[in-house]
């Protein structure tokens, strides 16, 4: 991993690391990179693609609309509500 990618991940995850932590994390990712390269060398072309690690499938439900929860109950834990809305610090694009 290069420094730029590392910096990007740091920003993306909203992390602020000290220089020591950075060096540790960088070394950690570097060692994982070696493993990845080793895995890449294995020929898997004849292996059927695995779409999921577990051999199980989902259940589906019928398309029926039911309202089981009230807005009031759901908003009990909200720091602030107004006219039925949740309120959050203003976001401006």
């Amino acid at each position: 991993m290069d420094k730029d990618t590392f910096r990007r991940l740091e920003l993306l995850n909203q992390l602020k690391l000290t220089e020591t932590e950075k060096a540790d994390a960088f070394a950690f990712f570097g060692s994982r990179e070696k493993e990845r390269l080793a895995l890449d060398k294995i020929d898997t072309s004849s292996v059927e693609r695995m779409v999921h690690v577990m051999p199980i499938m989902t259940v589906v439900r019928e398309d029926v609309a039911v309202q089981k929860f009230s807005r009031e109950a759901l908003q009990q834990g909200a720091p602030e509500t107004d006219e039925g809305y949740w309120c959050v610090p203003r976001v401006v694009e």
Partner: protein, 480 residues
């Protein structure tokens, strides 16, 4: 140098289901109070598990089949992480690694001929909530009614090269998805939205230029203007070095007619896609697959050809009716009653479509008792009700689906009278009142006859067989 525009589209379509994709909340929030259709699952509360709505998968498959895609029989959901208040869980559940449908093909026809647009994939996903910024200055208000409403995203390959092609392609998608009844696809209602990826390159080149993306376009006119603007901007940058093009997301301001840079385009890695551990793979067995395939509608062009070959409609009439599945259904039902395809088509094209246009209702929103329409057509072709009065009945039938045409015409005095005595009396009066028109007609002016005819018909309140009135009128004049 000549340039060509290279365009790929990502089209988001809201599926016409009753409930949301992963919970049982209603998917219809139009006209609702904020946060009326919410539950812990679609509000992203910890510990809540999603349960897949079967109809979303049905519709995803159906859309895929309509667009000639390969259906992935094992299809999985993935998490796409981003942090924004319209997304309560801080990730969107979507499909990244094994979308429901891949490798499709849509044929379009423009003024330059036919062309295939390749479909990269169709994936199922949940919509985000709505943010309201103008209630108060200090906060943003959040409404989760739309959160988890099911969408499909149809991703095309960069096979489009003009605003015209984009328009035709979007129309084609709409038509196909509406025929399959999986979605309304109405940009004005927000049930179809579009991201436009565009780049420009020298004609004939096989390398792509720098690509920009315009997100959330919601009108075809705006899309066309945006494509023209962006194409010109790219060419200007390449030819005159007016700016350095960068890969980015831009916002289209339709009022100013300009696009603006938004933020540098996230690469896929930024969203940290990974398999959603809360939703197990959806496995589509043969039975399920076949049931969807069996439920596919007749394709619009197959219907069109059938209307021409089987029912003897003109190409124009067949084209008009197959613009919308609702018109087709109305036509087929009315025809089954009145047994005249020509009459049924005629009433739909000249009367129903014009009423819809006048009332600014899209063809697909047509709600009429088509069986009753067939009966009304019969009343007219049997000479029992005059056409002008039948039009009035039709207009009332839009407002009241329970109208029985025969009873309604009887109640309103619209039944044509066979009373020749009455008609002769009205004709005699009309002739006496307008000697000039009579003289004009006798002098060879055909039009003058129509004027007396019109007055008679008005006097008879439209309740007269046109042929009978004409015969009696001409006889009476000839006797003078």
């Amino acid at each position: 140098m000549k340039y060509e525009t290279v365009i790929g589209l990502e089209v988001h379509v809201e599926l016409a289901t009753e409930s949301k994709i992963f919970c049982s909340c209603s998917a219809h929030s139009y006209g609702s109070e904020p946060n009326e259709h919410v539950c812990p699952a679609c509000c992203g509360m910890p510990g809540m598990l999603p349960v897949v709505n079967k109809r979303v998968v049905d519709f995803g498959m159906k859309a895929g089949m309509m667009l000639n895609c390969h259906i992935n029989r094992v299809t999985t959901f993935d998490k796409k992480s981003y942090y924004y208040p319209d997304l309560p869980a801080a990730y969107q559940t979507t499909q990244w690694f094994a979308p429901v449908a891949v490798n499709g093909l849509v044929e379009i026809e423009t003024s330059k001929g036919k062309k295939n647009v390749r479909i990269k994939q169709i994936h199922m996903e949940e919509d985000a909530g709505k943010l309201v910024h103008d209630i108060r200055e200090d906060t943003t208000h959040v409404d989760f009614n739309r959160t988890s409403v099911p969408l499909i995203e149809i991703v095309s390959q960069p096979d489009l090269s003009s605003a015209e092609e984009v328009e035709v392609y979007l129309d084609r998608l709409k038509n196909l998805l509406r025929f399959a009844k999986v979605a309304e696809c109405e940009m004005a209602h927000g049930t179809m939205r579009c991201d436009v990826n565009l780049s420009v390159r020298p004609e004939g080149s096989d390398k792509y230029g720098v690509r920009t993306e315009m997100k959330n376009m919601n009108s075809i006119e705006a899309i066309k203007r945006a494509i023209e603007y962006e194409t010109a901007r790219h060419i200007d940058a390449i030819e005159n070095g007016t700016e350095v093009l960068v890969q980015e997301t831009r916002r289209w301001d339709d009022i100013k007619g300009k696009s603006y840079a938004m933020r540098t385009k996230e690469t896929a890695g930024d969203y940290r896609y990974f398999p959603d551990p809360n939703v197990m793979p959806v496995v589509i067995d043969d039975e399920w697959f076949d049931s969807i395939q069996d439920s596919l509608p007749e394709f619009p062009e197959v219907k069109r050809d059938r209307y021409i070959n089987e029912y003897g409609l003109s190409e124009y009439d067949a084209d008009q009716i197959t613009k919308s599945i609702a018109l087709c259904e109305c036509f087929e039902e009315a025809y089954s009653v009145c047994k005249s395809a020509k009459d049924a088509a005629n009433w739909i094209i000249s009367e129903i479509m014009s009423i819809l246009n006048k009332r600014m209702i899209t063809y697909d929103m047509l709600k009429i008792n088509a069986h009753a329409l067939g009966e009304l057509i019969l009343l007219v072709s049997d000479g029992k009700v005059g056409r002008a009065n039948a039009k009035k009945v039709l207009s009332d039938m839009f407002d009241d689906l329970t109208i029985d045409p025969l009873k309604y015409c009887e109640a309103n005095g619209y039944i044509v009278s066979n009373d020749t005595g009455l008609v002769e009396k009205v004709v005699a009066e009309a002739i006496a009142n307008d000697p000039k028109a009579v003289a004009d007609y006798k002098g060879g002016k055909e039009k003058a006859l129509m004027s007396i005819y019109g007055k008679c018909m008005k006097e008879l309140k439209g309740n007269c067989d046109p042929q009978m009135l004409r015969t009696i009128l001409i006889d009476a004049i000839n006797k003078i």
